[in-house]
């Protein structure tokens, strides 16, 4: 297991971080303690606002503007960092502790070449002589599994794929050979197969002796690589211990809630929020009538360089009343375009979509407008789909207004709809920007429910939400389906979510459906190699925790 050293690389006791001064002072981290040794991975797990990122950054003296750090003990490689000057901190940064952030497109300077970013670290820490720097840059890129390092070094971040960018970012962080690597959400926003590769790379660095502090909101990611886990909530560590124990046998109620909220671990029809009422039973509608039917859909886009891109190629599917069709795929797989075509937004370049047996194209504009009201859309970013001037009440009332419902009646219906999605009707007076992400998504759902929807298009509706909020929204969608008999077309990159909500599923890649069928069949007995590789790449909680070092799959 973990090699035990006399002096841990990081030794932190009672770490507290405060922002602001005097009366405006606000403590956001309330006493975090842990140690980290070589070849060890400690993970801090928490939702947004838990203070996990601030904790990680204070280990580099970068808590943020106006942030003050206090600690009973804050030792970096045996030295008391509480007394460090800014000059000493600069030697620590990159030299002893490296930092990798999420989203390498934003974390690498878009106007500088990859080589320049890595050279920054080499120059600052005088790791190698100036003459050796180009050579070292190539070695580092090769070490993090970037192919053709000589070519990649001379490219700009936007010219690299997401996975290569994240690798390059890791190369900048380890360039001066720090003993500790702090990785803050290093795989968030990456496609699942790329995420698996980056996790393997981090595991390989760990096995090579690096100490890894992993910050993540994703329990499944953490379970794959962490030796010890700290669960943070509202700036406090609510539970900590060996990964297997914390995730396998959680003691604290919050940890249990978090684990319960992960959809992949729970079958269809079960509740994700522990404190919610039991689910209403869903009427059995296996042979429900077909509402939407697509046959051999094709959509081609012209690319700026004069070529063409087939975004959707030969997709056929049927949506039945009261059922859910999940569409899953990585970015660029054509899943969103498929959703839009299915709901009559944009004309397909081939194939047909029909509503109750009649093609969208055969309806007059006025008929289309009326029809669309019963096929609403819920987006990933609900705020963007609301007029920024509108209050919650006006937003929800808008479809009723279109349908000519008189004003007093509208007011009553808005209150009813807000109640139905679990919001206080008093929120109608607020602006959506004053609400939390989960509340905003409820407003979007309330608006979708306004005119007795038949099928709702849910386009990544929970991707921007914390896992516990995601759980509540997914439960809400399930309840609405059970009580109102709505059908969903549910688009997501998250296999766990799709598996949890869908009756039938389409797996898409490069615009084509590679596999399609009953959700349990596809997930339990995948036929297509791409589906298998996707499922393999998904980190799951029920998979055995890392006991032995993982062989690195890609280099």
């Amino acid at each position: 297991m973990t090699p035990v050293l006399e002096v841990p690389l990081l030794d932190v006791t009672d770490l507290r971080v405060t922002f602001g001064h005097g009366r405006a002072a606000r403590e956001v981290v309330h006493g975090v303690s842990f140690t980290l040794a070589a070849s060890e991975c400690v993970a801090i797990v928490g939702e947004s606002g838990s203070g996990k990122s601030v904790t990680a950054r204070s280990l580099l003296g970068l808590a943020g503007i106006g942030g003050t750090v206090h600690a009973g003990r804050l030792d970096i490689a045996g030295e008391d960092a509480r007394a460090f000057t800014e000059r000493r901190w600069r030697q620590v940064r990159g030299g002893q502790v490296g930092l990798v952030l999420q989203d390498a497109l934003g974390s690498l300077d878009p106007v500088r070449k990859v080589a320049a970013e890595i050279t920054d670290a080499l120059r600052t820490h005088r790791t190698v002589t100036p003459a050796q720097r180009p050579q070292r840059v190539h070695e580092l890129l090769a070490a993090v599994g970037v192919p053709d390092p000589e070519i990649r070094a001379q490219q700009y971040p936007h010219q690299l794929s997401g996975g290569l960018r994240q690798r390059a970012l890791i190369a900048t962080a380890i360039a001066a050979d720090p003993a500790v690597l702090v990785a803050d959400e290093p795989t968030t926003a990456l496609d699942v197969t790329v995420q698996a590769q980056v996790l393997d790379l981090l595991a390989a660095r760990k096995d090579a002796g690096m100490a890894l502090l992993l910050i993540s909101h994703d329990l499944a990611v953490v379970s794959r690589i962490a030796d010890r886990v700290l669960v943070m909530k509202d700036g406090e560590v609510v539970e900590s211990g060996p990964g297997r124990e914390v995730l396998g046998d959680p003691r604290h109620a919050y940890t249990r809630r978090l684990i319960a909220a992960v959809p992949s671990a729970h079958p269809r029809g079960s509740r994700l929020s522990l404190d919610a009422a039991p689910a209403p039973t869903r009427p059995v509608l296996s042979g429900g009538e077909v509402v939407l039917e697509a046959h051999d859909l094709r959509k081609v886009y012209a690319t700026p360089d004069g070529g063409s891109l087939t975004a959707v190629d030969g997709v056929s599917l049927a949506v039945r009343a009261g059922r859910t069709v999940g569409v899953v795929g990585e970015s660029g797989s054509g899943k969103t375009t498929t959703g839009h075509l299915l709901f009559g937004y944009g004309r397909p370049d081939g194939g047909t979509v029909s509503v109750d047996g009649r093609a969208w194209a055969d309806h007059s504009p006025a008929e289309l407008r009326r029809l669309h009201q019963r096929f609403p859309v819920v987006h990933q970013d609900p705020a963007a789909s609301f007029d920024p001037r509108y209050t919650v009440g006006r937003t929800v009332a808008e479809p009723l207004q279109v349908a000519g419902v008189p004003r007093p009646e509208r007011r009553r219906r808005v209150a009813e709809l807000l109640g139905r999605v679990g919001l206080d009707p008093a929120l109608a007076e607020r602006h959506p920007r004053q609400l939390s992400g989960g509340q905003r998504q409820r407003v979007a759902i309330a608006r979708a429910l306004a005119l007795e929807p038949r099928v709702v298009l849910c386009d990544e509706p929970v991707s921007a939400l914390d896992v516990s909020v995601q759980a509540q929204i997914l439960d809400l969608l399930a309840d609405l389906q059970a009580t109102l008999g709505i059908a969903y077309v549910f688009i997501s990159h998250d296999l766990g979510v799709v598996r949890h909500v869908s009756d039938e599923v389409l797996v898409m890649q490069h615009g084509r459906v590679v596999e399609q069928g009953d959700v349990e069949d596809v997930f339990e007995r995948p036929q297509h190699p791409y589906t298998k590789s996707l499922l393999d790449a998904v980190p799951t909680l029920d998979a055995p925790l890392r006991a032995a070092p993982h062989p690195s799959r890609s280099a």
């Binding site: 930092l99 934003g106 690498l108 300077d109 936007h158």
Partner: protein, 305 residues
């Protein structure tokens, strides 16, 4: 490909400006000959010569074509107010204005970069005073600022020579008067860009590599802060040429600005057209230069072309 398209676009702009002045000449109330002669007194023979030269007895479209033809050959016409060729009159004054604008531009850029870098993300009070000073600087009418500078530093303190001097010291006050408003505008834009850049994750990444604040500013932030400034280049050209008109008048300096006022006052149409042409060409040249610079500053734009 894009360079050619850009050049053609530039030519179209110059052609448009030329057409605009041609239309203006013919829209002027009264006879066109009077407009060309302006307030100068000329003999009937000269008037006849003008009619022949400009083809004023021809249909309008022939006049227009021959006007374009003369411009293409570099003939900007004769200024009756100045008693010389328009090209010559402009050529004589060009250097003086170019010097003033160049020094003013240098001052404006230097000042803006310093102020922006010194106040971005600093204390509320420090930053707030800079913003206040910038707003006042933009609001002060430039000609009045010139007068105040003259009174304070030339008449009272006698640090700088009074009006009409061509010495290098005589350039200081006009250049400052010209630079203040654009500098304040620029530093507002730069600070905004700097502050946005300093909040970017790649700045955190850079600091996490051990870079100093100065290194972060120099290697990362300044380049990003220059991007929005570059887009202002067209506005800057206009601001400086317009500013030169006022500043040269206040300080009684030689230059294109003074020439413009004289030309307008004397209703010297050929000269006015020549000046419009010169500034349109300047605008286009700066625009093409800026496009090239943009590509150097931001590789993302290079990739898309």
């Amino acid at each position: 490909m894009t360079a050619v398209r850009r050049l053609l676009g530039g030519l179209a702009v110059v052609w448009g400006a030329v057409t605009l002045t041609f239309l203006a000449l013919h829209l002027t109330p009264g006879s066109t000959v009077d407009a060309i002669v302006g307030q100068s007194v000329v003999t009937p023979e000269v008037r006849a010569q003008i009619v022949a030269e400009y083809g004023l007895d021809q249909p309008l479209w022939i006049q227009y074509l021959s006007y374009l033809g003369r411009l293409v050959r570099g003939d900007l016409g004769h200024s009756y107010g100045q008693g010389t060729q328009v090209a010559e009159a402009i050529g004589e004054q060009f250097g003086s204005t170019l010097l003033l604008v160049a020094v003013g531009l240098g001052l404006a850029f230097g000042g803006a970069v310093l102020v922006a870098a010194a106040t971005a993300h600093r204390s509320r009070w420090w930053r707030g005073s800079a913003v206040g000073a910038e707003r006042v600087s933009v609001a002060v009418p430039p000609f009045w600022l010139g007068i105040l500078l003259l009174v304070a530093f030339s008449f009272s303190l006698r640090w700088f020579p009074a009006i009409g001097s061509d010495s290098p010291r005589g350039l200081v006050l006009p250049a400052v008067a010209l630079a203040v408003a654009p500098a304040a505008m620029l530093s507002q834009v730069m600070r905004h860009a700097l502050e946005k850049t300093l909040e970017e994750p790649f700045v955190t990444s850079a600091r996490a590599r051990g870079l100093t604040r100065t290194a972060v500013l120099a290697r990362h932030a300044v380049r990003h802060a220059l991007l929005p400034v570059v887009t202002l280049a067209g506005w800057l050209v206009a601001a400086f040429i317009g500013g030169a008109i006022v500043t040269e008048t206040v300080f009684a300096r030689q230059g294109l600005g003074r020439l413009t006022v004289t030309a307008i006052e004397g209703k010297d149409f050929p000269l006015v057209s020549g000046l419009v042409l010169v500034s349109a060409v300047a605008y286009v040249v700066v625009g093409i230069g800026v496009d090239a610079l943009y590509g150097v500053l931001d590789p993302r734009l290079r990739a898309s072309t």
